[in-house]
């Protein structure tokens, strides 16, 4: 019997949905076992009925609910609650859903500050007003899913690797709970590490790391040891999928920026990274922007507004 699946995207960029499509033929093989009852990216089931005459959002019952994106406006909240009501198992798909993701960077400013800029950019006609009709009002900030509804399975990643999505779906189809390992990106990184204390300062990513492009990645020295801020130590592994390849950014020879969120669901990438740097004797005053260490995990009250300016975490 096919398992009913519903899928929704909230404050999302569609990247998580594209990651599902990147399953390619695996997806085709899974399709007979999956019965999509609602998935706006691919299918025309409507919240308010096919003729748009219902009053409340109505999503069909499903065993598995995939939700990508955080919660940013009242409609997202309503849809998230409806998904929770209708789905037995809710999966938070992607770092926006699990930790707020990049859109949660907005949490360092107020909605008024956002509107003040957005409706007064260089190309916007003057006198612009914040719209009010037929659009969903913003909440005070961007929330991770579990700040509003219970989440059963966390599948971080911006986006999650298709291998992990497949593993999770297959486990659920077999009636099992999917298990994802809690390792760090460094644990899966083949670069050469020669030891602590080699660097004192932090280089900006405008400088080229040293590596020989003709040699495999395991002959490149660890980027952190080369003096680049690489967030591998405080970021959850998984971006390379399951066939043993190097973490994706490292394979492109650029440092990790933490897109899988903290190693443990409740971890704090900023505090952990500052600790890691300090314990290596690296001068923290050179970091051009500390909030960037939370660029993927700014929900859960980690990035907050304080008197028009950021801080407190």
């Amino acid at each position: 019997m096919a398992v009913n699946v519903a899928s929704e995207w909230l404050n999302s960029c569609s990247g998580c949905e594209i990651a599902i499509l990147n399953l390619g033929e695996t997806l085709l093989d899974l399709l007979p076992k999956i019965n999509f009852v609602h998935i706006p990216v691919l299918m025309d089931h409507k919240h308010l009925g096919q003729l748009g005459d219902k009053q409340h959002i109505d999503i069909p019952k499903a065993t598995v609910g995939l939700v990508s994106g955080g919660i940013r406006n009242e409609e997202h909240l309503e849809v998230a609650m409806e998904m929770r009501k209708k789905c037995d198992i809710v999966i938070a798909l992607g770092t926006c859903a699990t930790h707020g993701g990049i859109p949660a960077l907005i949490n360092s400013v107020t909605n008024e500050e956002l509107f003040d800029r957005y409706y007064a950019t260089e190309s916007t006609d003057s006198g612009a007003q914040v719209p009010t009709k037929g659009i969903s009002p913003l909440l005070d900030r961007c929330y991770a899913l579990d700040e509003h509804i219970k989440v059963d399975i966390y599948l971080p990643g911006c986006p999650p690797h298709p291998d992990q999505i497949a593993t999770a779906i297959l486990a659920l189809l077999n009636g099992e709970t999917p298990e994802l390992p809690f390792k760090s990106v460094c644990d899966t990184c083949p670069t050469k590490r020669m030891g602590k204390g080699a660097v004192k300062g932090i280089k900006r990513a405008v400088e080229c790391p040293e590596f020989d492009p003709d040699k495999p990645i395991d002959e490149m020295r660890c980027l952190l040891e080369q003096g680049y801020l690489c967030m591998g130590p405080v970021t959850r592994a998984g971006c390379a999928g399951t066939n043993g390849e190097a973490p994706r950014c490292i394979s492109a020879r650029v440092p990790c920026r933490g897109c899988y969120g903290p190693v443990q669901q409740k971890g704090n990438q900023l505090l952990d990274m500052l600790n890691a740097l300090a314990s290596n004797g690296i001068d923290l005053s050179q970091l051009p922007d500390r909030d960037s260490l939370l660029r993927f995990s700014g929900a859960h009250n980690r990035l907050v507004v304080k008197q028009g300016k950021k801080t407190r975490r």
Partner: protein, 449 residues
């Protein structure tokens, strides 16, 4: 006032939008409003961030065209920092920029739009989707899925990440391409070109003729167009001048740094989205169907209309055939799908051309640059239109202000107008059913917000 129909959410499109159709007492359309419901505030929250980091943040504006945001952004940061760009770096960026178009067009045509044509606009919603196609035409579906996957994975294998890429860096590209990688990509691209040729032939024989009456009526409006062209007026996705064409086909070409002289954005009470219009036409902004003002369109049909020619042979032949049938500029909205397939052929041909340039395997792919104060505008053609990133930086090379005009944004006014035109045309005397409402949505899927 009669009843109101809410189509929510719009589906098989990329973003978050809904349609509100208000009927009068006779059941005719009194108004049809398209609401664009997404506001995330990138222009605000990138402030203060080191500019080179912003190139890897703005990718999250869109998971379907992250490469294009990445490319516009690195070009803008190059300009802020007065960076020299290594020639091989430029070639690699341009190559990825074109490759990323291939995937997008396969996705848009087959996954988002085709169900209306293959299953029919009146098929039940439960089968009118790619899963339905997989059952009805399993060989075609498998081929489509394989080709889409191939185009994504060839990029990921080489450049590290395909969704939310990181390999573009100020001053160039993060790493060189070696000969075996190049050869592998050439083989993959050849296969994709064959698939592109099949796709346009298939559509011209099996799809467009069947729906010709819809193609020439649904959502049709008369507007200007925007797109990027080379010095000689050829289509270009990566670099060149921006051409803004009036409905009569006359046009202005301008540098991206001057975009503020040509384009302005209007806000409306019903949408978070902003509505760009042609400020340089000096006629203001109006979405009135009978007398539109300042309205132009972006995305594939717009580019096909703007360019004088396409610089690759097969796509140029398709363009000539297209122009013979529909003129220049062509206005019918559903022709976007046809133009999309012409661009699919072009992006495959162009990718192969770039991969066959020996300079692409050059070892020096990036110059070291120094963060500094400056202003930079970077633009490319994203699948959904001319994409502009405009940054100013402070003396530390951190963002002071950012202004973005995203490809889709140019089309928000035209989409709203096409929806209204379609609703007016299809809903009469209270007669409305799911097929009719789906056809109204087809007017959106031609552009895809």
């Amino acid at each position: 006032m009669g009843k109101t129909i809410n189509i929510q959410p719009l589906s098989r499109i990329e973003g978050h939008a809904s349609i509100e159709i208000k009927l009068d007492d006779q059941g005719n359309v009194a108004d049809a409003i398209t609401h664009f419901n997404s506001i995330r505030g990138f222009e605000k929250f990138v402030e203060g961030k080191p500019a080179e980091e912003v190139t890897r943040i703005v990718t999250r504006i869109c998971g379907i065209c992250p490469w294009h945001h990445h490319m516009s952004s690195v070009k803008a940061v190059d300009a802020c920092f007065d960076a020299e760009v290594a020639p091989a770096g430029h070639l690699l960026r341009e190559c990825m920029q074109n490759m990323a178009h291939i995937n997008d067009k396969i996705l848009h045509f087959y996954f988002l739009a085709a169900p209306d044509f293959v299953m029919g606009p009146d098929a039940d919603y439960s089968v009118r989707n790619v899963m339905g196609i997989a059952n009805a035409a399993p060989d075609l579906a498998r081929q489509v899925i394989r080709m889409r996957q191939k185009s994504q994975m060839m990029m990921e294998k080489f450049a590290g990440k395909v969704i939310h890429p990181i390999a573009g860096v100020p001053g160039g590209f993060s790493k060189p391409m070696n000969e075996s990688q190049r050869q592998e990509m050439v083989e993959d691209s050849k296969e994709l070109l064959e698939f592109a040729k099949f796709s346009i032939k298939h559509a011209k024989e099996e799809i467009f003729p069947k729906y010709l009456d819809l193609v020439t009526t649904l959502g049709t409006i008369t507007t200007g167009f925007i797109g990027t062209v080379d010095k000689d007026g050829s289509l270009n996705f990566y670099d060149g001048k921006i051409r803004l064409m009036r409905p009569d086909g006359s046009f202005d070409d301008f540098e991206d740094t001057d975009y503020l002289d040509y384009i302005s954005e209007r806000t409306l009470d019903v949408s978070y989205g902003k509505y760009p219009y042609a400020k340089s036409w000096n006629e203001g902004f109006s979405m009135d169907l009978d007398a539109p003002k300042g309205i132009y369109r972006s995305n594939c049909l717009a580019r096909i209309n703007c360019c004088d020619q396409i610089p690759t042979p097969l796509a140029q032949k398709e363009l000539e055939e297209f122009r013979k049938s529909f003129g220049k500029p062509a206005q019918h909205t559903l022709l976007y799908h046809w133009a999309r397939l012409i661009e699919l052929v072009y992006s495959c041909e162009k990718t192969l051309e770039l991969l066959n340039n020996p300079a692409i395997t050059g070892k020096e792919t990036r110059c070291t640059v120094t963060p500094k104060a400056g202003r930079g505008v970077g633009h490319v053609e994203a699948p959904r239109g001319t994409l502009i990133h405009d940054y100013t930086t402070d003396e530390n090379g951190c963002i002071k202000t950012a202004n973005l005009i995203v490809g889709t944004t140019h089309n928000l006014a035209p989409i709203s107008m096409s929806v209204k035109q379609a609703a007016n045309m299809l809903i009469k005397n209270g007669q409305v059913d799911e097929t009719i409402l789906n056809k109204v949505e087809m007017a959106v899927r031609a552009y895809d917000p």
